[in-house]
Symmetry: none
Subunit: 195 residues, 4 copies
DNA sequence: GAATAAACGAGACGGTACGTCCGGTCTTCAT
DNA sequence: ATGAAGACCGGACGTACCGTCTCGTTTATTC
């Protein structure tokens, strides 16, 4: 990826990169995404503006990178044996993540930016949303293979419903995702129906 | 509301108001929300900037007002006799609305702004989202009264799932709401379960 | 002047006029001429902006009017019997006026405006400067008639030198006109020379 | 003065500086000082507004700089041997300058601004007026040393009378400084008196 | 080791839009 | 017809950031 093979010249400074990502995350928490500026990130991190523009196309991309760098945000793909248990485990992991206000704020900002800036939207969808969909997709496909999915439901729709409901609570309702919601979602998406 | 009784001074110009709302809507369609500016709206509408700032706190509020002024966006509360039919009718109406690209673009922009600007978020939730929730709420409450709601499902969760899935398709998936999704949503949210 | 004979409609309010002139003078003293605005005068005086625009073409004209209304600013034309005594009396009267800071401030502002706004400059010259020149002119002409003027000096130049020096101290030197200056001016402009 | 030794960052653009000063001078000549705007200067010079604000506190300071940059405005200190000849030479040089309408307009505007804006007034007095006073001061001091000054006249008063009369003609009388005035001034300020 | 080349902090640059202020005009209702 | 109130269009203000462009300096690779 970062094709540094034998190129002359100074190497990218990992120190600067970290300082920039940290400054961006802190500033977002302190002043909010709307008041976050490239100049502010540069000033806080001690980097020059050009250094930021050299490596990221926008402030949203800096934050997306900062998010991706947080290793602990990884949501594992559970394998509990049954579709219901897997789904419940997946939702519980997501729920845990949702209880960290700073992360939630970041996600709201990035989703917003994705609506306004089409190019970033593309990157956000590919680098973030698609990965989450893939994780849940694995679980649902397993259920399909086992015949556990309720009839009349495609796996894509299950995924849309799960993520849609979670995002809606964050974006529109401003209510945290809670245990009750998880229970109801699992109920709706798993229980077999009468003919 | 606009208590003009016997107040001295010139009255608010309805002509300017219309010109501003129209210009804002047109410009959003032409250049996109990100490139929409108050100055641009003023120039296009022939109004002074101050006139815009006097009546709306931000460009998003202008668009929200423009949206509210479009009478044809009203979603009726159907009463077809059964919960399933009502829900299907409600979704069909929403689906029809979603097939108008300009409206969808507007909604995406407003939802984005609501994430970034907390004060506008409050207004957007109260003046737009709450009304839609109330409409669907009426339908669902009727179902509850009739005992048609699947057990283990609260009416608020039904609403979250419905709007969540619709918004998710618009915001994250960039896939239009289609008939297949409607069918699956209705299936999931109506069918009685085996004990 | 104010030809109100038999005109229909409400008469000009003397109360408003006074309030406006007072407010303008006070505001100039409080915030300075640069920060004086028509809106400010209207607000302070309780008048509408239109009322001010109806009767004065600019804020400088309001102040010029306020100045003219101050009756005590009148400089009498002395007649002491000799040119030297007259000149000294005239300068003493002007000197007394120059010791009132507010008046000096006003004069500085009006002279400044006269440079920047040609139309007002014309009015200022005619309504203020010309009157002062005429007063001193009477004195000097009397001296000419008596043969008291030093040879090689025209009356216009005497006037230019007197007012020039006084204004210069106010505008450029920021030093008050004092007794020493008066003495020296009198000396220069009266003493007969050796052939 | 401009201590650029080893400072990091891009250097100030001399090209921009020149373009701004030229544009300001031209615009003043074309539309007058009252209609001169920072935005206009920026537009005409091709510079950004911020570049102007970075280096000059007001439009008057831009003009003062433009004036100072005009090398040909320098008034030499003559040394003709006698006070009278020196004074006459100094006045002739000033008179020549006064016959350039653009320069006179500029001086009127700056003197006006100096009345209205106290901070600029200070700069104008120090950077322009004081230099002229110093030049004439040299001449007059020489006369004092030689005992050529009329008795009862201090050197400061001579300077006040000279500059006062010149400025008054420009500011108040709107009559150019002419040869007759020079002659009369020299007469008044040099001739010995009868006891 | 010298030359070359890239990245770095710093900061000036041309731009664009911001939100505010005020100018001068125009209703509106009351006197 | 005047007057107070206040909305209107217009234009400039001074500021904040954008994204780009020098600068001088530091660090690496190649000759």
């Amino acid at each position: 990826m970062n094709d540094q093979r034998g190129r002359p010249g100074r190497k990218r400074s990992e120190e600067s990169r970290r300082a920039i990502l940290t400054a961006a995350a802190e500033l977002t928490a302190e002043v909010g995404y709307a008041s976050l500026t490239i100049e502010g990130i540069a000033a806080r991190s001690g980097a020059g503006k050009q250094t930021i523009y050299r490596w990221w196309p926008s402030k949203a991309d800096v934050l997306l990178d900062a998010l991706a760098t947080k290793a602990d945000l990884h949501i594992p793909i559970p394998d509990e044996g049954t579709y219901e248990a897997d789904l419940r485990a997946f939702l519980a992991a997501t729920f845990a993540l949702g209880s960290r206000p700073q992360v939630v704020e970041l996600l709201r900002a990035l989703m917003a930016e994705a609506q306004i800036n089409a190019a970033f939207g593309e990157r956000f969808r590919e680098m973030f949303l698609a990965q989450r969909r893939a994780a849940l997709g694995t679980i649902v496909e397993r259920a399909v293979a086992r015949g556990e999915l309720p009839s009349g439901l495609t796996s894509q729709t299950v995924i849309d419903i799960v993520f849609g409901t979670l995002w809606y609570r964050v974006l529109a309702a401003h209510r945290p995702v809670d245990q009750a919601l998880i229970d109801e979602l699992v109920t709706v998406l798993t229980t077999r129906r009468q003919s």
